[in-house]
Symmetry: C2
Subunit: 84 residues, 2 copies
């Protein structure tokens, strides 16, 4: 069976996030106030063929750590997409 999986890759705590900081600095000039703690990350969506949900998530997590993220500076989190 095919499961639609989403992998979120975010920078680990304490790792500098220049993209997020730049966005945060640009906001007041565009008239947006009250926005803070901006963090930028990546997301990947794909279909995994697996026998059940946990096998699909396991495969997606292995793939995320091996190919989609740099485990030294990034955290990868796999989850099933809500909609079919």
């Amino acid at each position: 069976m095919n499961y639609n999986v989403i992998v979120d890759v975010t920078l680990r705590k304490g790792i500098a996030d220049p993209e997020g900081s730049t966005i945060e600095r640009a906001l007041p000039a565009l008239g947006f106030t009250g926005v803070s703690n901006v963090h930028a990350g990546k997301s990947f969506r794909f279909d995994v063929e697996a026998s059940d949900e946990s096998a699909a998530l396991e495969k997606a997590t292995a793939l995320a750590e091996r190919l989609l993220s740099n485990p030294v500076i990034e955290d990868a989190n796999a989850r099933l997409a809500e909609e079919a």
Copy 2:
């Protein structure tokens, strides 16, 4: 009140996704089979100060369309983060 919002930016349907295609092509060489339809996107997480949830989402959507995405080729979707 502060709401933690996540904005997912994905390429519109029909727009070429070279990053996703490259990942998909690399998978068999790493021993991953049964993975298809790989799509790459970006995600942003930030805190929004607003009076209620719908105001926070409205502000996040405006920000996403104005600054975080290119509406010509990308879709932006704002949602509240589950955990506080």
